[in-house]
């Protein structure tokens, strides 16, 4: 056993134990760590946003860079997002509170416009391409079989969500097959998520036993 003498390791240990103390019950030690987590997370995010977005995209081109480096036209281009951003604060002035709709409209319009083609390409066309049976699947029997199972699974699972017709006859058979795939999918996703959390738990115990107590290598 070789206990760490590093003060920062001890800080991390105290915080880890503080969060784990919630397993016993909600207590002041946990609440301290929880509130610390919230404050630090926000402060960290503010710092990242300043250095990754505000400074390089707004502050530097608008206020730091001279006109010899950035043209007046380009400088003026950055006034638009500045004004849009400032409109958010109009929310606190009742007479002009409606101006808050401007930045929201910009963000929503941009997001919706970017989402449609991107989602269409990645979540529909690419997924359909992955589901379709192609000549390549005949190269090996196992690939062929898994491709057929996958295809049947996708079609039946989609049909399970088809509520425009009563589920009877062939549709009933298909939707019941779909449930089988969906249940296996939910179970697998649950198992996968549990194992991801387990891996974090193992990581914390490794930290306590190796970095702090020096009990394991």
């Amino acid at each position: 056993m070789h206990v760490s003498t590093d003060i920062l390791t001890w800080v991390a240990v105290v915080l880890t134990v503080g969060i784990f103390s919630f397993l016993w019950k909600d207590n002041p030690f946990y609440k301290f760590c929880e509130h610390l987590f919230v404050g630090i997370s926000l402060g960290y995010f503010i710092s990242l946003t300043w250095y990754n977005a505000v400074y390089p995209d707004l502050f530097r081109p608008l206020f730091v860079q001279p006109l010899s480096e950035v043209s007046l036209g380009n400088k003026l281009l950055f006034i638009i997002p500045l004004l849009l951003g400032l409109c958010y604060f109009c929310r606190f002035i009742p007479r002009v509170s409606w101006l808050v709709r401007f930045p929201m409209a910009f963000v929503l319009g941009w997001g919706a416009g970017v989402t449609i083609p991107a989602v269409l390409q990645t979540s529909i066309i690419r997924q359909m391409q992955g589901t379709f049976l192609t000549p390549g699947i005949f190269a090996r029997w196992d690939v062929f079989l898994w491709a057929i199972i996958s295809f049947v699974g996708v079609v039946c699972s989609v049909l399970y969500f088809f509520f425009s017709r009563e589920h009877k006859g062939a549709l009933k058979v298909a939707s019941e097959t779909g449930i089988v795939f969906l249940m296996v999918g939910f179970g697998a996703s649950f198992g996968y998520t549990v194992m991801a959390r387990m891996s974090l738990l193992i990581g914390r115990f490794q930290f306590l036993l190796r970095d702090w107590l020096g009990l394991i290598q």
Partner: protein, 209 residues
């Protein structure tokens, strides 16, 4: 004007962003890059608004001495100290923010917070995972195969278990996921179209103005 201009902005931005996706011209790419920078800037202002709300909520709690007010002081002090360190000394690898705050405060807090979920998920699974029906049994079996297939004990129980777990994840699980992805994608596209065309106006807020 109070409603028409925002709706016009949504329509213009939505259509131009959709069109630029299919036009690989430098002007179109430049437009995308510029608006992406603008979005980051506008998003940063929203962060200021959120931070302001956070500070107001906690300072009000402290001022009125509401239950647990002393914890609010911790949140406020943590926010100020982290922000001052981050803005003052930078965010580069090796900086105080990364080496001290991130590595020794944020990582243990974050990892521990999510790690305790393992206990709650196991407890929830114990109560919920009862093979009462055929479907519940399927869910249970799939979860066990995936969980055991990912740890060394699974391979020592049966050598083919990791392979089976991999198969469950990549064939039936993928099929179910794809069906759900189709639904989510179509829902997302429909909602986006409703926003662009001004059919969905909830974001404008209530009132006649």
């Amino acid at each position: 004007m109070k409603r028409t201009i925002p709706l016009a902005i949504v329509l213009t931005m939505g259509i131009t962003m959709m069109v630029q996706f299919f036009v690989p011209h430098p002007v179109s790419v430049g437009y995308y890059d510029l608006t992406t920078r603008w979005i980051r800037i506008v998003g940063a202002f929203a962060l200021v608004l959120g931070t302001g709300s956070f500070i107001m909520f906690h300072s009000d709690k402290v001022r009125r001495r509401r239950q647990g007010w002393y914890y609010s002081i911790i949140s406020l002090v943590a926010l100020v100290v982290t922000t001052v360190i981050g803005l003052g000394w930078g965010i580069r690898p090796g900086s105080i923010l990364q080496n001290v705050i991130y590595a020794n405060f944020l990582v243990p807090l974050n990892a521990s917070m999510f790690a305790i979920l393992a206990f709650y998920m196991a407890s929830a699974a114990y109560r919920a995972f009862r093979a009462r029906t055929k479907e519940a049994a399927l869910l249970l079996i799939a979860a066990f195969i995936v969980m055991l297939g990912m740890v060394p004990i699974g391979a020592s129980i049966w050598g083919k278990l990791p392979e089976l777990a991999e198969w469950v994840l990549s064939v039936p699980n993928m099929a179910a996921k794809r069906a759900i992805i189709f639904g989510v994608a179509l829902g997302g596209i429909a909602t986006s179209l409703k926003v662009i065309l001004g059919i969905e106006r909830g974001w404008l807020g209530g009132g006649k103005q």
